[in-house]
């Protein structure tokens, strides 16, 4: 208290205003445009002055877990990306899962590549929705590597290096062995 009393009053006001702005920004559920921040100041402030204060707050938070950013709709605090890994530990949401159709399609492409949509449909015994192939392409796990020289020139799908990376494999040979699986399946059915 005695310290702040010795500050020039202008500095005091500025420090107080910074605290008020910071509190408002930390509390607000939405980004605050400059126009909405102005009523927080007891004396009228120009945009320029307000922006200087905000830049000052930004600096205060430089090496912290959240940062003050200016977005199209105004200013707001948000977490820095590298904090995500810790925050995820707090709310362990179950990661989304791909449907059985997507996984089976991927398995067929992985083990039978290069394959056409028709090949996949024949093995699965049902039509393959375009959405399934798009999902896998968008994820960067499959790609079209050519077309088969048959009527309609169907596209040939193969898996990508990215899939191997994401599965932490070096080559496709490291995929679970089909013969092993067939044995297991026979055991399972037999028992």
């Amino acid at each position: 208290m005695s310290d702040s009393a010795e500050l020039p009053s202008e500095l005091q006001d500025r420090a107080r205003l910074k605290i008020i702005l910071e509190t408002a920004l930390l509390t607000s559920a939405e980004a605050l445009p400059l126009s909405q921040m102005k009523p927080l100041c007891d004396e009228p402030l120009s945009n320029r002055e307000l922006e200087l204060l905000l830049a000052d707050i930004q600096r205060d938070w430089l090496n912290r877990g959240i940062e003050l950013v200016e977005l199209a709709s105004g200013w707001r605090f948000r977490t820095r990306p590298h904090m995500q890994v810790y925050l995820d530990r707090l709310s362990p949401q179950k990661p989304p899962r791909y449907s059985r159709a997507v996984l089976e399609t991927l398995a067929i492409i992985a083990y039978h590549q290069p394959v056409t949509r028709g090949d996949i449909e024949e093995i699965r015994g049902v039509a393959v929705a375009s959405q399934i192939l798009k999902t896998l392409e968008a994820r960067g796990w499959i790609e079209v590597i050519g077309t088969r020289d048959t009527p309609g020139r169907p596209e040939l799908f193969a898996t990508t290096k990215q899939l191997l990376d994401d599965l932490n494999l070096r080559t496709l040979q490291e995929l679970p062995s089909l013969s092993q699986m067939t044995l297991e399946e026979n055991d399972r059915i037999g028992s």
Binding site: L26, P114, P176, E185
Partner: protein, 261 residues
């Protein structure tokens, strides 16, 4: 009411008019039941207004004021809640018991004051009424302060992850299905040939002729070389490749079959 100029007598002081704070203008009568939280609240009001002790209620005065109040309300045809009328009955009962001579048999213990139960209820209610006021005075989230919840910057919608186990299970499912739909069989393939087929197609994607030997990596070992060769034969069999050799023992060139481009 006109035959009773003295409305009430508080501690011997006659009251000639309704206390200001008790009077409610007729057009505001509908608010009455909202103003008081019930008969206990009204009784407390009457008692506390006149600085009376809850522990020593002058029953006669209290009952008279309460009944007068009820009468006033009824004059304006306000439907009184049953609780108010019940309380009136209770008050009259207590009052009449107080008027009756005490029973001759006097036990050692003091006969219970007929007011005791009412006093207990009034005290208990008053305590809760005060507690409600105190609770309301405590700083309250959303009213007197806010909790902080800074937005968590979400990465692009989280994508599903898969594991080898997922792929394996998917494949086992297919095997089982294949068993049911016996009209086709799931062939077991030499995986490396398939992978190599994809690899070759990828190398040839430009559509240009590529030297045959550049598709083989001598460093990768004999097995890999054989697999690559088998893959190329497979591709040729599926008409995916065009293989050309302009002269015997000359260089062999490979490109995607033109129709396949």
């Amino acid at each position: 009411m006109t035959e009773h100029p003295v409305i009430a007598s508080i501690h011997g002081e006659p009251l000639k008019s309704l206390p200001q704070d008790l009077y409610i203008p007729p057009d505001a009568l509908e608010l009455v039941l909202d103003t008081f939280q019930g008969p206990l609240d009204l009784l407390l009001y009457l008692i506390r207004r006149h600085n009376l002790e809850v522990l020593d209620i002058p029953m006669a005065e209290l009952t008279r004021q309460y009944l007068h109040y009820i009468e006033l309300l009824q004059q304006h045809r306000l439907e009184l809640a049953a609780e108010y009328l019940l309380m009136a009955a209770v008050l009259i009962e207590i009052k009449s018991r107080l008027l009756l001579p005490k029973p001759a048999r006097v036990s050692d213990e003091e006969a219970e004051d007929p007011r005791a139960e009412l006093m207990r209820r009034l005290q208990e209610y008053e305590q809760m009424k005060l507690a409600a006021q105190k609770l309301d005075q405590l700083p309250q989230a959303g009213r007197d302060f806010e909790f902080i919840q800074v937005m968590i910057e979400q990465k692009a919608a989280r994508l599903p992850e898969i594991t080898l186990e997922d792929l394996k299970l998917a494949w086992m499912n297919l095997l089982e299905k294949a068993r049911i739909h016996t009209h086709h069989t799931v062939r077991r393939e030499a995986l490396s040939v398939r992978e190599q087929m994809s690899h070759i197609l990828r190398c040839l994607r430009g559509g240009e002729f590529v030297a045959f030997d550049t598709l083989f990596d001598p460093e990768s070992g004999v097995q890999r070389l054989i697999v690559t060769f088998v893959a190329m034969l497979e591709l040729a069999k599926e008409y995916l490749l065009e293989i050309q050799q302009s002269e015997t023992f000359g260089s062999i060139y490979v490109r995607l079959s033109r129709t396949a481009e």
